[in-house]
Symmetry: C2
Subunit: 522 residues, 2 copies
């Protein structure tokens, strides 16, 4: 957001152009001290660190460019650190790599550290999936396999190296010119990336090896970036609240907001942050078994032929389906399913419990093996050679998922003594946020009944936050401030929570007054 | 000196014992942050850095010792950095290695970082001598040899590793328990040690690669110390004023002295520092060709059978020789030669120009090939099978050397507008300082005519300074303050200097009033 709304002046980045006075008999300060002292003066600090390997190159680089150079640096554990030197006038760009390190999906973006220009972007399934689909199975793999942690680390590093090679080839630059990498992932993904043992993350009292990793060199991870490149790893708050969400908060800028806003990030997990410039409260959906996985098990991934939008003609009660690439339908994704449920409810095809009416009441309802199904598309209309069916069980899942989401939102808002109407903005991140239609989510009571303009989809906030910190140096300090300011709310599965969850298992809610805008059709 | 005069309380060192509260559901801070935050609080800082490799070990080490540990840390480029963790109650000591990295001779001392106890010490010829005896030849070797710098670095690192192995074996400890190393050497030796190209050090305008090296890991140098050990490298002031002398100043504590004192260090080079708590002025003997090497080319190294002390019986005018280990004489070392010259002058066997009288005047003078010689010991008395002779040329060398020393001392003292009588202490470092008798040096006008109690021999101040910084943490900041406070005085070979040098080429000086205590015998 800030990337869009603000200009990105060079002086705020990690690259500084310096014209040093060349050595003379009257000023015979050493090359390194000449450079680092000047840079330190520019940055207002006494010390700037440098690795020995780069130190060895300095006299050559300074002389090659006649002491007129661009310094690429970063702040690490509170101290600035030089990571590269380029000629001030040479064309070689200083590159940065932003990574959203998801459990299921990884996104990497190559950008110009000086201009912020995005040069290339790619995404791929996290190949650690071949070991285990989720963090639990991966951690168990490490517990049971000699060098299992090393293997999982190798898998992701190799995949990132392939991505780096591809991104650089696409952009026409060399991987050696990547000076900084910023990585945002959940706590376990971060541990696997760094080769830290995640054993204790999933065992009471749930202790990561590190909350705030510092001093990470790309080279020691095996990352094929520049030889002295450093890696900014977003800190976690705890085992269940990772750097990806810190990156998301950074991107929303909610930590600077006078108004109270909320951020919901639904990825492999569902995470929620509520707050403003004074305070931040967060919780994660995985905390309670009743909610676990619920929100995210809706339908298939989007892809060609997948229904992503559903309407019902108010007069004819017939379905109006939109598929990706306008191909014959072969399935339905989360946003399509939410649309569908909303329309079914508004059209009276399901009741307030989300139950399909009897087959006789609507032509689109059939009973198969004693279970009611909705025929969303006939065999002739699909690409499957059979009808596209949505079972009652699918709808029940959706009801649980939407109830879980609403319960989390209600619980965290109540935790700070606010009501939904106090929220000035409702940010929805992730693929989920990018595609759902708030009106549909409100209609089924998944999201609260706020003015639709309150809702804003932000896309991959984790990636955007990682990209921000690469181009706006002061953001790095903000990361720490955000992290230290967050109050983590444990979602205890107590009677209160279960009561809320039960009340939310209706369309839109047992207390329909909470959803004044939702009115079923005549 | 401080090591002797002060107690060395544990809280002032680089090892801190910490009892952390173990993780719980109410306090689930990560292991690393738990440790580093607690350590940082003890040290009064927000950040303490740690290398990834040590980070990976932390959860195991903390649990092994039930969160009751000793942290070994260091300050690097202004920031504290964790370098090791031991159990608070385990017997394993935290070791440190202090190194005086001389061009000719290297001394290494193994000590206990917590108690300051010296565990073992060793010295050896710098094996880089096989490449070249001095810094110039070694730098030329690098200029002319592919990977020459790497070769010179390997040579010294291998020698240090051998020394480390020997020291640890002698002390009964493992090299893995060395957590810190402090290295003091001249600028070129430091560059060779770090693998930095010294090419520009000897070429106008004489620029080192670095004045203040930071962030040096033992592992990246190939030093076989502990896996996460760091190396404190004493900074240099410039190409001709190295970290060895900074270490010497640190050891004298002259930077805290109210009175003005002087430090003379004669090693491969002759270096002089003058100052007090307000200011420090320094110069090096290599700066002027007329002085170069002069001071240090006196006699042979001390060893068995070497004359180290000479007297002349005032009545009989016969020599009274003392040899090392009381063996028959086979040569004479610097201190013996100064003794000899003083006695010869006082006894009237040489004149004020240092010239031997005619063979007829004294039985001990002979003429060989037209050059006068002194017979110090007859063939029967020596271990050589021939008489031990000192030629007029040897004495002329000594006169030049002593004149050079006096000239340096006079020049630097005059530079700050003081006279010798303003000096409260005259520290003499190095082997030279350990063995010369000030009375003799004063008698020939090598050192000024100050009360003999003013003179104090300090031994290897470079090594002692390196050892100090390993056991007294606050000394590290002092190093930087010393370095930044030093004014380096270039010894320009101008008419003034040559006039002083000419006037000093007499015993004790052309201006005998400067040496009121020196009176030739009746």
């Amino acid at each position: 957001m800030n990337q869009d709304s603000e200009t990105n002046p060079q002086h705020a980045g990690w690259v500084r152009s310096l014209r040093l006075s060349p050595p003379s008999l009257k000023d015979n300060t050493a090359d390194a001290d000449r450079l680092l002292t000047t840079l330190g003066r520019e940055l207002g600090v006494e010390w700037v660190g440098v690795d020995l390997a780069l130190l060895r190159e300095l006299p050559f680089r300074l002389r090659q460019w006649d002491y007129h150079v661009r310094c690429i640096f970063v702040k690490d554990a509170g101290r600035f650190h030089l990571v590269g030197v380029l000629g001030a006038l040479e064309a070689t760009p200083a590159l940065g790599l932003a990574v959203d390190l998801g459990t299921s999906r990884v996104v990497a973006r190559l950008l110009n550290l000086e201009t912020g220009q995005v040069l290339a972007e790619t995404s791929f399934d996290n190949p650690q999936i071949e070991i285990g689909p989720d963090v639990l199975t991966r951690i168990h793999f490490i517990d049971q396999t000699s060098s299992g942690g090393k293997k999982l680390q190798d898998i992701i590093i190799q995949a990132l190296n392939k991505a780096i090679a591809g991104l650089c080839a696409a952009a026409g630059h060399a991987p050696e010119n990547i000076f900084l990498t910023a990585v945002a992932g959940n706590t376990t993904m971060t541990h696997l990336f760094l080769g830290l043992d995640p054993h204790w993350i999933i065992r009471e009292p749930y202790i990561p090896v590190v909350n705030t990793p510092t001093g990470i060199c790309a080279g020691e991870l095996g990352l094929k970036a520049g030889p002295h490149a450093r890696v900014i790893v977003f800190p976690n708050v705890g085992s269940y609240f990772g750097g990806d969400l810190i990156a998301g908060i950074l991107y929303t800028d909610m930590h600077h907001s006078k108004d109270t806003v909320i951020l919901v990030d639904v990825g492999t997990n569902a995470e929620v942050v509520l707050g403003n410039s004074e305070w931040l409260v967060a919780c994660a959906g995985a905390a309670g078994p009743a909610l676990e996985g619920g929100v995210t098990k809706m339908g298939m991934m989007a892809g060609p032929g997948v229904i992503d939008e559903v309407g019902i003609d108010r007069a004819t009660r017939t379905f109006q389906l939109h598929t990706i690439d306008d191909l014959p339908p072969r399935g339905i994704c989360g946003s399509g399913l939410i649309d569908l449920a909303a329309q079914l409810f508004l059209a009276g095809i399901v009741d307030i419990r989300g139950k399909l009416k009897a087959p006789g009441e609507h032509a689109c309802i059939v009973e198969i093996d004693g279970l009611r199904h909705l025929v969303l598309a006939s065999a002739e209309a699909t690409a499957l050679g059979k009808p596209l069916l949505i079972s009652q069980a699918d709808l029940d899942s959706l009801v649980r998922a939407k109830a879980a989401m609403y319960t989390i939102l209600e619980t965290i808002t109540a935790f700070v003594g606010l009501s939904f109407s106090d929220l000035a903005k409702f940010y929805v991140a992730g693929t989920f946020g990018a595609f759902i239609r708030p009106a549909s989510a409100v209609a089924i009571g998944m999201l609260p009944d706020l003015p639709l303009s309150t809702y804003q989809a932000l896309g991959n906030t984790s990636l955007e936050g990682a990209a921000l910190v690469l181009t706006q140096a002061q953001r790095l300090d903000e990361i720490r401030h955000i992290r230290n300011r967050i109050t983590y709310m444990e979602l205890n599965v107590n009677q209160d929570l279960m009561n809320r969850f039960s009340a939310a298992r209706f369309f839109p809610h047992t207390d329909a007054r909470r959803f004044p805008s939702v009115a079923v059709w005549d």
